[in-house]
């Protein structure tokens, strides 16, 4: 067992895949000698050289499009969006090109590529540098969407992402980069679509992913003190979605709270709530609650950002509301 940070786990996964497969290469803004805006690619330039770890101009359409074209031509590019918010200038290459090519071309061309991007609020970066946009990606057939919460998952899911033959959106949370956790020595790829039951419980199911898993666990601890036994499920990927694990849990606990940092309206939580309301409504003893950001852009000033960002407190409140 090695103790490492989420950032180091990602860095290790990149390094190992590059060592294993010469078709894997990295590019993006400042990913080279600079090591990436958050330092995630540190050391890779030194090890693999500019040919495989390449700085691009500040042109995100060209970055994602180049990954698409390189993948179509046989490579396995891993490109980086410095912030997920920049998808706005480059969405077409992802959703109309990369995601649809396999289908539009009758299954005859595959696009094995990964777009890595940090998400989330919490560093005072304001409205254009703090969003969580997984719901957009989840709405697009052809994409896979990964949101690891722990170093071990970040490592194992990134191996899987790089080996996957489809475009994968790999969403990292900025505030998790420094989080430490165990990553087993012989850890291999973690399959997509397998949620992780992080804590077993009998009274309420909390479904979360990415940073919100920690809030859910914290909430579970608080609620345990109030005699409420919480089951916490970390989805790990939202496409594919492990609905079975959610349904099984709900059938046991009879109540559900879905939590994410993204704006609640039309977020991933809505999809999960809807699927449960379709498939397991008879098992429910309580309203399905969602915890998510309010319907506002992300504000800058710390007290505002703090008010914007949902966490354990909001989850506890949601659980207490349906248990009252």
């Amino acid at each position: 067992m090695a103790q490492k940070t989420y950032m180091q786990a990602i860095n290790d996964a990149l390094r190992e895949e590059m060592e294993r497969d010469s078709n894997v290469l990295i590019f993006g803004e400042d990913v080279g000698q600079f090591g990436g805006c958050f330092g995630v690619t540190k050391g890779l330039f030194e090890q693999f050289g500019e040919k495989r770890v390449r700085d691009t101009p500040i042109t995100e359409s060209a970055i994602i499009g180049a990954a698409t074209g390189a993948a179509a031509a046989g490579l396995r590019p891993v490109c980086e969006l410095m912030f997920v918010d920049f998808i706005g200038v480059s969405m077409d290459q992802l959703f109309n090109q990369a995601a649809k090519m396999h289908y539009m071309f009758g299954g005859k061309i595959s696009i094995p590529m990964v777009v890595r991007a940090p998400q989330g609020a919490g560093i005072g970066a304001a409205a254009q540098h703090s969003q969580s946009l997984e719901a957009w990606f989840m709405h697009i057939p052809g994409l896979k969407v990964v949101l690891p919460a722990t170093p071990a998952d970040a490592y194992g899911l990134l191996l899987t992402a790089i080996r996957d033959d489809n475009p994968v959106v790999f969403l990292e949370h900025k505030l998790l980069y420094g989080v430490e956790g165990e990553v087993p020595e012989d850890a291999g790829p973690i399959p997509f679509g397998q949620a992780n039951i992080c804590r077993e419980g009998t009274d309420v199911t909390i479904v979360a992913f990415s940073k919100m898993v920690y809030s859910a666990l914290e909430a579970a601890e608080t609620l345990a003190g109030k005699g409420i036994s919480v089951e916490v499920i970390d989805l790990r990927t939202v496409t594919p979605l492990d609905i079975d694990t959610i349904l099984n849990s709900v059938k046991k606990t009879h109540s559900l709270v879905v939590a994410h940092e993204a704006v609640k309206v039309a977020g991933v939580g809505a999809e999960i709530a809807a699927q449960v309301a379709e498939s397991a409504i008879d098992y429910l003893d309580a309203p399905i609650m969602r915890v998510g950001a309010p319907f506002t852009p992300v504000p800058f000033s710390p007290p505002l950002e703090e008010a914007f960002t949902p966490g354990a407190e909001e989850i506890v409140a949601a659980v207490l509301k349906i248990r009252s």
């Binding site: 042109t59 090109q97 396999h102 033959d165």
Partner: protein, 319 residues
């Protein structure tokens, strides 16, 4: 026959193949046999033909919404093309793509594209793969005058030049993006003038002269193969038909079209082949007949092929 003569004949055949294919589609569309949008390449045949004659089978192209000519010129199978445009399960994309999304990986055709400017970044990426593997392949990115303004195109020009990628940007300047003349969509007259902003050669050619196109593209391709980086070649041409079938073209003068029809690239080139003794009239007719038969077979194939089954929609979403 010398290699160059053979190539001349090939280029002519390609133009004729496109001409006949598109003319048939025009008919079929009018008869209501083809679903969706159809953007015909009639009048622009010399660009695709001259360009692709400069390429190897393993070279790549990215195409556009007006892609039939590119695909045919790169060696696309008429049967599978026609079947696709008819929406049949035997088509290139099993009926999932249609006219705007024909691709053939085995021929390096990375797809027609319904997004104006969509192909540029993808072409740069394919060029990156070639460079990465140290190969001497080349990518041609076809794009229209309208597409030349799109940010994605300009990003691709920049990336290709910054990285010296083996990409040849072939601009098809047919004077219009749908109804909008280039005089309204840009302040410049020659799109080749943009090349300097990326420190790449910018060349203007008569896009209705297949030899001129081929020579310019060949030079750019050689340069790219040797690691000399990208080029931009602007081919001045004209589309004979409306933007898509059904467009009445009220935005342009009939006389303008007439002028361009006089510059029809086919008779112009066949005359040269005849004059230079490369082909006899009889040989020419034989070639025509051969292609006409090929096309008939493609049509029959498409007509006889089955439509896909509804349940097929669920296939091919993921690899």
């Amino acid at each position: 026959m010398t290699k160059s003569k053979e190539k001349m004949i090939q280029m002519y055949m390609t133009m004729y193949r496109i001409r006949q294919f598109e003319s048939k589609l025009q008919e079929f569309f009018a008869d209501g046999k083809i679903p969706g949008f159809v953007h015909l390449y009639l009048g622009e045949e010399a660009v695709a033909s001259g360009t692709c004659a400069a390429l190897r089978k393993d070279d790549y192209i990215t195409s556009t919404h007006r892609g039939h000519g590119h695909v045919i010129a790169k060696g696309g199978d008429l049967k599978m093309m026609m079947a696709e445009i008819f929406g049949k399960s035997t088509g290139y994309c099993k009926g999932k793509g249609g006219s705007m999304h024909i691709a053939d990986a085995s021929l390096g055709i990375l797809g027609a594209n319904g997004i104006v400017g969509g192909g540029g970044p993808i072409a740069a990426g394919a060029g990156m793969a070639i460079q990465y593997r140290g190969e001497d392949g080349v990518v041609v990115c076809f794009f229209g005058d309208g597409a030349s303004n799109q940010g994605t195109t300009q990003e691709a020009l920049n990336l290709a030049s910054a990285w010296e990628l083996p990409v040849v940007f072939v601009n098809e300047n047919n004077g219009y993006g749908i109804s909008c003349p280039t005089s309204k969509s840009m302040a410049i007259t020659d799109i080749a003038d943009r090349a300097a902003g990326y420190d790449m050669p910018g060349v203007i050619v008569d896009g209705n002269d297949v030899i001129a196109v081929n020579e310019a593209v060949s030079a750019a391709v050689e340069r790219a193969r040797k690691g000399g980086g990208p080029s931009l070649i602007e081919c001045k041409t004209y589309r004979w038909r409306g933007h898509f079938e059904g467009d009445a073209c009220t935005y342009r003068e009939k006389s303008e079209l007439d002028e361009w029809v006089k510059k029809d690239p086919l008779p112009r080139f066949s005359k040269k082949l005849l004059d230079d003794g490369i082909l006899s009239k009889k040989e020419l007719e034989k070639l025509h007949a051969k292609i006409d038969t090929e096309l008939q077979e493609a049509i029959a194939f498409a007509e006889e092929s089955p439509l896909p089954e509804p349940a097929d929609i669920f296939e091919d979403v993921y690899a």
